[in-house]
Amino acid sequence: MMSIISEHGYRIDGRLPHQIRNINCRLGVYPQAEGSSYIEQGNTKILCAVYGPHEAKRSKQLQDRCVINCQYSVATFSGLERKNRPRGDRKANEFTRLLEKTFESAIMINAFPGSQIDIFCEVVQNDGSLLAACVNAATLALCDAGIPMKALVSASACGFVDSKCLVDLSNREETDLTPRMTVATLGNTSQIVLIELENRLHSNHLPQVLAQSTKTCADVFECLHAAVRAHLPGSVAIF
C-alpha cells in the first residue's frame, strides 16, 4: 500500500497538500441549452447544461419561488471500473439532492415564481472530487445562462490524512478510510452553502479541515471568476 503523503511531504501526483489541480474550463459549449459549461479539474472532466427558467410542472410549481431540478449522471466508462448504470444509485441520488440544495441557496429563487431551472451534470471522466467539480461546473453554466445568483459558488474537497489537510483529492486518494469533506462557499466569503462529510473525522480536527476547505474554495473562486470574466466580452447582453 502506497502512502498518500510521501516522507518528503508530496502527494502521489507530486502536489503539495494544499495545492489544487489545474482547472480548465469553458462556458457555452452547447447551443441548445440556455447555459452550459465544461470543466476539467486535473483528470476529472464534467459537462454541465442548464435549461430554464421555464414553467414548472403543475405538481411541482411553487408560488413564491422557482424549483431547482438537478440530475447528476456518471458516464459508465468514466471511472477505472466500468459502472453498470449512469445514474439512479444511492450516491447519484445523494449528489443530486445536494446540488439542488446548494443552488437553492445560491440562486435568487424568488425572482422566478412558478418556474423551474434544470441543472444537468454529466461526469465524462472521474478522477476524484466529483461533487466539488459538479458544483463548479454548474456555477459556470448558470453564469452562462444569465441566471441571477447571490454570488459565484465555488467548491472544494478536502481530505484529512496524517493530521494534514489534502485538498482537491484525486481518485487514488479517495480511499475508503480517508475522511473527506466537500464544502461550497458563496463568492469570496466564508458563507457555506454546502457541506458534506464522508467517513469519520474527529471533531477536534473539524476546525482545521473547515478552515482549509474555505481557503481552497477561495482559490477555486479566483479560477472560476477569471473564466467568467474572460467569457464576458464574447457574450451578448440582453436588456
Partner: protein, 273 residues
C-alpha cells in the same frame, strides 16, 4: 385533385406528429415547407436528399477507457468509450455477445431525456447495434476474444449522447467503429492449472493487440420525407419523418458493400414501399 393533395399532406403531417413525441414541434407550415422541399431535392441547410453533413471523428479522447471516440455531425455529439473486461465463464464458446452495447441519453442533450426519458430511444439504438454486430462475418476476431475455454474478453461499448441533432444511429455506428479501432486489448498467456482449469496471466508488460475493424458495420437510416428518400436528417427534418429504415452495411477490404447484413425496422417496411 387539389383537395386530394391537401388531404394527403394533412395525413402526412398527422402521421409525422404521431411518430415523434421526442423533439421540438414545428408548425404545419414549416413541416410542409420541409417536406415539399425534400421532394424537390432541396433541404433547408442547402443539402440534396442524399447528402450527409460533415462528420468529425476524434479518437482517444477519454483516458479512463481502453478505446474511445467522439463523433460530431453538426449538432449531434456522441461520446463512445470501450472497456475490456476479462470474464471467467463456464464455457466461453457459449458467450455470443462479446461486444456489448449500451447507450445513455444524457439529459444535457435535451431535458426530455431526464430520468428515464431517454431509455426507450437508447434501447432502440443499442438494439440496432447489437443486431448489426451479431453475426460471424463482421467480427473477424471473434474467436480471438475467447482466451481460453473458461475466459473470454467482453468489450463494453458505452455510448453517451451529449447533443441530439438527428442521425444518432449513424453517429453511433461510426463512433463504435472508431472507438473499437482505438481499443487496445491486453495480450494474455494461458497456462494449464489443476483440474483442467486454465489460469490467465499478462504476457509482456504493456503488450496489446487491436481488433480487425475492417468489416464492422456502418448503419445508415433512410427516411421518408413525403415522397423523397432522405439520409442524415437534421432535428427538424426528423420531426417530419413518416417512416425510416436502417441498413447496416459491412465492407470488405476493397470497400465494396459485401452483404446487406441486417435490416432494422423502425417502422413497417410496407409503408416505405
Amino acid at each position: 385533385m387539389q383537395t386530394q393533395a391537401v388531404e394527403t399532406e394533412r395525413r402526412m403531417i398527422r402521421d409525422a406528429e404521431k411518430e415523434t413525441d421526442m423533439e421540438n414541434r414545428l408548425s404545419d407550415g414549416e413541416k410542409v415547407f420541409i417536406i415539399s422541399g425534400a421532394e424537390a431535392d432541396y433541404r433547408v441547410d442547402g443539402r440534396r436528399c442524399e447528402d450527409f453533413r460533415n462528420i468529425m471523428v476524434e479518437s482517444g479522447v477519454i483516458d479512463t477507457t481502453d478505446g474511445s471516440a467522439r463523433v460530431r455531425f453538426a449538432t449531434t455529439d456522441l461520446l463512445v468509450g470501450v472497456k475490456c473486461e476479462l470474464q471467467s465463464v463456464e464455457n466461453s464458446a457459449a458467450v455470443q455477445d462479446r461486444i456489448r452495447f449500451s447507450v445513455d441519453c444524457s439529459a444535457n442533450a435535451t431535458p426530455q431525456f431526464e430520468g428515464k426519458g431517454g431509455n426507450e430511444f437508447a434501447d432502440e439504438i443499442a438494439c440496432a447495434l447489437r443486431t448489426a454486430y451479431s453475426n460471424d462475418y463482421v467480427v473477424p476476431d471473434f474467436e480471438k476474444l475467447a482466451v481460453s475455454p473458461s475466459h473470454v474478453w467482453i468489450l463494453h461499448v458505452d455510448i453517451v449522447i451529449l447533443q441530439y441533432g438527428g442521425s444518432i444511429i449513424e453517429a453511433a455506428s461510426i463512433g463504435a467503429i472508431a472507438a473499437l479501432t482505438d481499443t487496445n486489448i491486453c495480450e494474455v498467456e494461458t497456462k494449464p492449472a489443476d483440474e483442467n482449469r486454465v489460469t490467465v496471466e499478462m504476457s509482456e508488460m504493456g503488450k496489446v493487440w487491436n481488433l480487425d475493424t475492417t468489416r464492422f458495420p456502418v448503419i445508415v437510416s433512410v427516411n421518408k420525407l413525403g415522397k423523397a428518400n432522405v439520409v442524415d436528417c437534421s432535428l427538424n427534418e426528423e420531426t417530419c419523418i413518416r417512416s425510416a429504415v436502417c441498413f447496416g452495411f459491412s465492407f470488405s477490404n476493397k470497400m465494396k458493400p459485401q452483404n446487406l447484413y441486417q435490416v432494422v425496422q423502425f417502422d413497417e417496411l410496407s409503408r416505405l414501399m
